[in-house]
Subunit: 418 residues, 2 copies
């Protein structure tokens, strides 16, 4: 093993240093001058033709473990629950549609698009009714945006650090290229009344989930999403249409959107009073706290993984902010004593997931890995302790504290608080 | 209907002009002061809870028509063939994994990743053997890249313009976020011999498909793709690993990659002599013509679609170039007499699909719609006639001529040559 210039304590390496020194092996690579002895016989799959092209492809049967973590259903509230994206088993930043997280308040309605309607009414010059076909004819726009549930990472507010995976803790988070019609286009056509200042949106699910957002946001970057990663949005994401509110807590991106009403104040729907508010220590609650805070998460190594060998490993994860782009992600391997910047993949897009990476040489000793994101606005991801200090201990929403993973001398990775 | 400032003949409108004039209706929007009369009864799906969260989602049953167009299999060459991405039914630029085009030379092998090996040998200091697990431990990188089959659009070289869809003509084209290990990292570890100048890559399919690429490209941006849009690449895209050669004809991105050999010249594999060469009029053929030319395609309106009404429509499509980014896309509605610039979605990424859009007011008269892309290098997409003049009439590869769609007074859209 070569000696590298360390960028921070306990083995973190600057990628540029490493490349200039020449790359050492990351894997348990078999090296041999006698290739024949090292290579397998010609495998069966190379000896006869396989099946031909298909109409709608599926994953390999050897990746059956890569699934959403679906919560058990409760017969008292059928269809209510969530499924989490297996973040620790994925790479890059796009979430495939089949693995996008879900959160339903009354299950997934089976909507016939020919019968579905979107109504725009309230404080408008003329109320409008759109069929799905109507909307498809409008100009569309595409953006890659993350979506995060307001309750994501809620378990990290608990008193004890649960020994579980990154997906279980933080998997109410996904990212896709969304395409649809700007809400401003439709509101312009309806004609915005002079007193309108809020927009109420309601879904066609049995829960009639409704949320209110200020008109300024609706006119800025909100759109009616019709496509997700190129194809029509999936039923569990709101087929045939959902509102998409970039950067804000997931449930305001109302699925199965059927009604938009312009008003002069918020509706105080049940899901913005009984839920999705942050209880403070003085007994009051914060309401309409829309943007998701700057946040990051190491996805590998992460909870319940096991390092199989000492030496070089890539530490990688995701960063995002509801306030805009990600400027930097720092990583520490020594419990936060020293930090260094990770490399960011591609050009970080505004309000999208960003993948970060940094090489790490594990010497076999104990380590605590953690990441800290800074967004373009200058917000720095807080510690868990700093987030907890803001709210009542009963609050489970908008947790964006730093996630710490402990690596034991056996190589086992565990969720820890300190 | 408002009058807009025209940007080019026969109804093309500058998007900025339109917005400043106020948006008119694109759809057959129902407008009513009596909403109750216009809105349906509460639909059945709003009256009772739907099913809950699931482990691996699927599209709505109402989108069953959105499938790849798979070629019929020939019993003499089992598994050989292709399927085309339904470009005219998609939006944005990302192709969902289930709809990524396929081209197989001996079907899809069912590879057990635990048994698969990648061998790097030939003119190297030390031959290396990698398991799938070995490769997963290496540093990875993510990029959004298009992939286009060398034979895409081959039907457009035929004598007669076939009355068919954009997907049938041009659907051997897709785009995804690919993640994997830089080939340069692995070659650096193997140690590149002083005489090595080419890289031979071979797949584990029954066809043992092999291709050669120059070493300079292999060291530039080529990688071993392990993930596609976040999840492990699909069997039909090379699971567990494929070589990915950005911007170059699709078949050099060898699927089911099992062997890389450094040499001092190309291998002249059967698929770079009998196929994937361009026959010239003098009887000679061009070989190793790797980059795909600058190209664009209007996906809506496109072949076999039908305009249901006069008035405003969004003309939209895709542009790409194997030489780099897309600088501009021009659109004409009057058979090429006048052109104007379309709007490009997002920040056009290098070697990725770019979505273009422009509003068009159809007056009910005949029209010929076409698009013309210019890439960052300054290459301008040629006319069909200019492409045909380069090659023998037998050539079917690397067709990047302008696609013309005729709109009849009945609103029917057809593939035409002039």
């Amino acid at each position: 093993m070569k000696n590298f210039d360390l960028a921070a304590g306990n083995g973190l390496i600057n990628r540029r240093h490493m490349l200039s020194l020449g790359m050492a092996s990351f894997g348990s690579v078999v090296v041999s001058k006698s290739l024949a002895a090292q290579t397998p016989d010609i495998p069966a799959w190379s000896k006869s033709p396989g099946p031909g092209a298909s109409e709608y492809g599926a994953p390999s049967r050897f990746t059956d473990d890569i699934k959403r973590l679906a919560s058990a259903s409760n017969p008292i509230t059928p269809g209510t629950g969530a499924s989490r994206t297996p973040l620790h088993l994925l790479q890059g930043t796009i979430t495939p549609n089949s693995l996008h997280f879900e959160r339903h308040h009354s299950g997934v309605p089976d909507i016939d698009p020919a019968e579905h309607r979107l109504i725009i009414h309230g404080m408008v010059r003329q109320p409008l009714v759109f069929s799905y076909e109507d909307l498809l004819a409008y100009p569309q726009t595409s953006h890659t945006y993350f979506l995060e549930c307001s309750g994501n990472s809620g378990a990290s507010t608990g008193a004890n650090a649960v020994d579980t995976s990154a997906a279980t803790l933080h998997g109410l988070l996904s990212c896709a290229q969304w395409t649809g019609v700007m809400l401003s286009t439709l509101l312009d056509e309806a004609g915005i009344g002079p007193d309108a200042s809020w927009v109420m949106a309601t879904g066609a699910d049995a829960a009639s989930l409704g949320r209110s957002i200020p008109l300024y946001k609706a006119l800025n970057d909100v759109f009616i999403a019709l496509y997700q990663n190129g194809e029509p949005i999936r039923p569990e994401q709101g087929y045939p249409m959902r509102m998409f509110v970039p950067g804000w807590e997931g449930n305001v991106s109302v699925k199965w959107l059927t009604q938009i009403k312009l008003t002069d104040g918020p509706a105080n729907f049940k899901d913005e009073t009984s839920r999705y508010t942050e209880l403070l220590t003085n007994g009051k609650a914060l309401q309409f706290t829309f943007p998701m805070g700057v946040k990051s998460l190491i996805t590998s190594p992460s909870g319940q993984m096991s390092l199989q060998r000492q030496g070089l490993h890539e530490v990688t994860g995701l960063a995002w902010s509801g306030h805009g782009g990600i400027r930097r992600v720092e990583v520490s391997a020594d419990g936060g004593m020293t930090w260094t910047d990770a490399h960011l993949d591609q050009n970080p897009a505004n309000l999208a997931l960003v993948r970060f990476r940094i090489p790490w040489q594990w010497s076999g000793g104990p380590a605590i890995l953690q990441s800290r994101a800074t967004d373009a606005t200058g917000n720095v991801q807080p510690t868990r302790e700093a987030v907890l200090a803001l709210y009542s201990s009963a609050n489970r929403y908008h947790f964006n504290g730093i996630q710490r993973w402990a690596v034991s001398v056996q190589g086992e990775v565990k969720n820890v608080y300190a």
